[in-house]
Subunit: 214 residues, 2 copies
């Protein structure tokens, strides 16, 4: 299966700027991207990183295509060839908890469109098997995508996955990476001094003695 992995090479993870410097956010975003690409590959997908700018690092197992348009038009330019027997998937680059098993379930889901929603009605990952489906990643995209699917007369499958439902945008999300992440992303956080902190009765992350979030 063709799998697009959109990546904002020029503005990595701005909502983490309270806890990570620009260089650190860049390193962390790259680690998540590499974890996602590796999981897609292990799940039998053919990953293409759809990047807003040329990448200054290697992504083993993935092609890289540069498209500096905003997310939705860049993805939509590549959806019209989606067919039932030749689908196109889109998997966000910040799904640091993604495993091959979770992605296999997504890829195997029935439906002309299959969506793994994230919190806040996000669309974290999807599979498109219908040539008329288009994405609109503006706020509440899961609701919009459900509506678009109905409008074009396509079937929708909703894939129930905590791993695919967890995108890493905000400081609280780093807890999930440390608890459930499997490869480079949690390793980068640990190298940067983050560790789980259960002192407060809820698990948060702490860094070098400072509470980064709880």
């Amino acid at each position: 299966m063709r799998v697009l992995v959109p990546f904002a090479a020029d503005a990595p993870k701005t909502r983490l700027e309270g806890v990570l410097s620009t260089d650190e956010r860049t390193a962390f975003a790259r680690a998540m991207l590499r974890d996602v690409v590796a999981a897609v590959d292990a799940a039998g997908g053919e990953p293409t990183v759809l990047s807003t700018a040329p990448l200054a690092f290697e992504t083993p197992r993935a092609r890289v295509v540069v498209d500096d348009r905003p997310l939705s038009p860049a993805v939509n330019a590549r959806l019209s060839t989606a067919r039932g027997d030749d689908p196109v998937a889109v998997v966000m680059a910040d799904l640091a908890l993604a495993t091959p098993g979770a992605l296999e379930d997504l890829f195997a889901a029935a439906g002309d469109v299959a969506i793994a929603p994230g919190r806040g009605a996000g669309t974290n990952a999807l599979v498109v098997r219908h040539p008329e489906f288009r994405v609109d990643y503006h706020g509440g995209s899961f609701l919009d995508h459900r509506e678009i699917t109905a409008e074009i007369g396509a079937d929708l499958a909703v894939v129930d996955s905590f791993r695919l439902g967890t995108d890493v945008d905000e400081p609280d999300d780093l807890v999930e990476v440390l608890v459930h992440g499997t490869d480079r992303a949690p390793a980068v956080l640990r190298e940067l001094g983050f560790e789980l902190d259960a002192e407060s009765g809820r698990v948060g992350v702490a860094r070098a003695g400072n509470a980064a979030s709880n």
Copy 2:
């Protein structure tokens, strides 16, 4: 399968006090409990509401047992009879997104202990098939439960479910109920005037013209 549904009858959903009055929180917590009990029943479980106080309302299809001890000892008093062929499950009463299908997958998961984790290393639902396993719902319980499972030489299955991974504690969580809830809980929120609000670019909830969260 025997399924305990712990319910704090006397302190419903205190972290929602910024957006719901005490009476409203009581009504909402009851609605979530009823949705969870109905889903457990439809999934083939035998639900027992483990309540901190007698309930002033009916819970069709569920027995009610009152135990005013804290959560962990109240649950642990009922785990020692768990066996491979007669397990005991524990499903939190605020899993408003739980569906019969998600619970069937949990109940069918292999392992002496099967856990559906929530955000912040929580343990939102679990199945116990080993008589020595005990819960400890203090902060970061998923990590503790993983350790306890290893200590008693039991196998652990981690169940990957966005629906079971979403407990409803805080105002932001109400979005998930409105988007993915299936029965009474979203109906109560709508009766109270909550609706999805995608104006800000991210979906939040708004009530009677006031932004309750985004």
